[in-house]
């Protein structure tokens, strides 16, 4: 009896030892030398694999950081400055402070949804609808409302507003990874600086049609009249292809353009009170267009 037990233990022991040796040599042979720093950097990253940095995922980003040795041209938008600093510490390099950004939907929510001109009945995909026709609003540049951006967001930071049919960005959750901007087939969503006290001014329209044509489809369209550019003290506004654009690096959020814009295409968010034009009464088109307060409402959420 004892003998049998002994034999069994012995046999198993020898087999175990043999495979342990085999395993050891195999492990030595196929050892992959990897910088442990990569693991440390990856540890610091948010791990959402959003792809906002342009790399395949967080791990790929960490590899890029370590192989490069510094953070030049590499930035994890969701992590922001805090993460950048941690990585810089690990790599032992300097870090440049980036301006915090947020995704901005440049299509006027007050227009869409309510004033549908047709009823889209196909696949719920903006990318597909864009190949079929202009979309329910009739604007060939406007939001299509199927929510490709919502599906692309890893942070639950962008949602469809059922009342307007356009997406609304949750500023607190948005990490400015840019996934929504990439997903939008009409390139409506842009990453812009958050601005001081989260206050910012932007043109909420990307319609490049001539003024009259643009106005026909949307009362809040930018008609490229150039009034905003004239009134801007910082020369931050440029007009190209009948469309005005505010450079957020130059803009000081004085809101002169907001009052000047005849179609209320320029919006301001997170300001305490609506901007008012000192002397002149409201423009004639005003009744057709919603009041600035109404425009602000969804973005201020």
């Amino acid at each position: 009896m004892t003998q049998q037990i002994l034999i069994a233990v012995l046999v198993l022991g020898v087999i175990g030892a043999f495979f342990a040796v085999v395993l050891y040599f195999v492990a030595q042979k196929f050892k992959v030398v990897e910088d442990p720093l990569i693991d440390e950097v990856a540890e610091v990253l948010p791990g959402a694999n959003c792809g906002g940095c342009g790399k395949a995922g967080c791990r790929a980003f960490a590899e890029a950081c370590v192989s490069q040795g510094n953070l030049e041209g590499l930035r994890c938008a969701p992590g922001g400055d805090a993460v950048a600093q941690k990585i810089a510490q690990l790599l032992g390099c300097a870090v440049e402070q980036g301006e915090p950004q947020v995704a901005v939907v440049r299509c006027h929510p007050a227009n869409c949804g309510e004033k549908r001109r047709s009823n889209y009945d196909g696949l719920r995909s903006c990318a597909f609808q864009n190949t079929v026709y202009t979309g329910e609003s009739g604007c060939p540049f406007g939001c299509l409302g199927c929510g490709d951006c919502v599906a692309a967001c890893q942070f639950d930071a962008i949602h469809m507003d059922p009342a307007t049919g356009t997406p609304v960005v949750d500023e607190n959750k948005c990490t400015a990874c840019g996934a929504c901007a990439k997903a939008c087939p009409r390139r409506i969503i842009e990453l812009r600086n958050k601005g001081k006290k989260d206050r910012r001014v932007y043109v909420s329209c990307v319609n490049k049609e001539k003024g009259a044509l643009a106005m026909k489809t949307c009362s809040n369209a930018c008609i490229g009249c150039g009034k905003c550019a004239k009134v801007c003290p910082m020369e931050a506004i440029t007009i190209a292809d009948n469309l005005s654009y505010i450079d957020f690096n130059k803009c000081i959020a004085c809101r002169k353009c907001v009052v000047e814009c005849p179609t209320h295409a320029i919006v301001d968010v997170n300001f305490p009170a609506p901007a008012k034009k000192p002397e002149a009464p409201k423009p004639a088109e005003a009744p057709a267009a919603p009041a600035p307060e109404a425009v602000k409402a969804p973005a201020a959420q």
Binding site: R117, S118, N119, Y120, D121, G122, V132, Y133
Partner: protein, 319 residues
């Protein structure tokens, strides 16, 4: 005027729907149900009603309170599962509560746990049946003896099925091909009558819900394989015609192996699937522990369906 609708082409639809398909399958099961009621009486009807009600109820409860999605019980798929489950159990009084457990397993575990209709890898009714067979072996193999037409009494005599009897030694006395064809033999509720099942299958073929590939491959393989065995030794193995007429081969081949969700899509894949089912059934029947192997065979082939789908591609237009 209304707003114009815009969509990509095509702008018309064949008017087919999942709902129509499922209710047509239910229609096709009616002849077998009627035969069951004729032979097993009120028990058969009660077991069927309880099974169907339990399946529908469980699906509704799970969708409403656990998954919190719009309920889809009206599409009739739970009714199909309920009927098929009832068809796979003996029509006895015990079954009237056991079948509820089967329904819970079929709907809850085999169907809804995988995401509901269309996502289940295994045929829910078969999973439910096998669960019951393993959990309640005595009750699941206590077969009511077929008496006269429309027996109304609950305590019918019990006896063996032809397959069970054969496993023990020999076919019961006096069971003819005609008995097996019409269903005048012991067995599970809905599987006894080959003719009733074939009527339902013809309806499905006519409505183009199933194609001939799986049933023919299944029954054909079973017939040929058991025929070879029978030619080798006609005392140890069953007559091939009797083989396909008794037990669950007809029901399995026409209704359970043709379940769209869990079987291959390409014609070639369907032939392989049917072949596998037939082969496994005969193997289990002759050399396995159980007298009947249809449900195990189908379940096993369900496992390889994704593989078959991967390898059996339709013929491309020009390749």
């Amino acid at each position: 005027m209304n707003l114009l609708n815009i969509s990509g082409s095509p702008h018309v639809h064949s008017d087919e729907s999942t709902k129509k398909i499922m209710w047509r399958v239910n229609m096709a099961l009616v002849p077998a149900l009627l035969v069951a009621i004729a032979y097993f009486g009120i028990n058969a009807l009660l077991v069927s009603i309880i099974s169907v009600a339990a399946c529908v109820l469980f699906q509704w409860l799970i969708e409403k309170f656990i998954l919190k999605v719009p309920t889809t019980v009206s599409d009739g798929s739970a009714v199909v599962t309920g009927l098929l489950l009832a068809f796979n159990v003996p029509a006895t009084v015990d079954m009237m509560w056991i079948v509820v457990i089967g329904a819970l397993v079929a709907i809850g575990v085999a169907k809804m746990a995988f995401g509901g209709l269309g996502k289940n890898p295994f045929n829910p009714a078969i999973v439910g049946r096998i669960f019951l067979l393993i959990s309640f072996p005595v009750q699941m193999t206590t077969w009511p003896q077929v008496g006269g037409l429309f027996p109304m009494d609950f305590d019918v005599a019990t006896g063996a099925t032809p397959l069970g009897a054969f496993k023990e030694g020999a076919l019961p006395e006096g069971v003819t091909f005609m008995d097996a064809f019409l269903g005048h033999v012991g067995g599970s509720l809905g599987e006894v009558s080959a003719i009733a099942i074939l009527i339902g299958a013809c309806y499905l073929l006519w409505k183009k819900i199933i194609t001939w590939h799986i049933p023919v491959a299944f029954i054909g393989t079973a017939f040929v394989f058991s025929g070879i065995l029978w030619l080798v030794d006609s005392t140890a193995y069953m007559d091939p015609l009797m083989t396909i007429l008794t037990g669950g081969i007809m029901l399995g081949a026409c209704f359970m192996a043709t379940d769209m969700v869990t079987t291959p899509m390409a014609k070639s894949g369907q032939l392989i699937f049917g072949f596998g089912c037939g082969l496994l059934t005969i193997i289990i029947r002759n050399w396995g522990a159980y007298p009947e192997g249809v449900s195990f065979a189908i379940l096993l082939m369900n496992c390889v369906t994704p593989l078959i789908n991967r390898w059996c591609k339709p013929q491309r237009f020009a390749n």
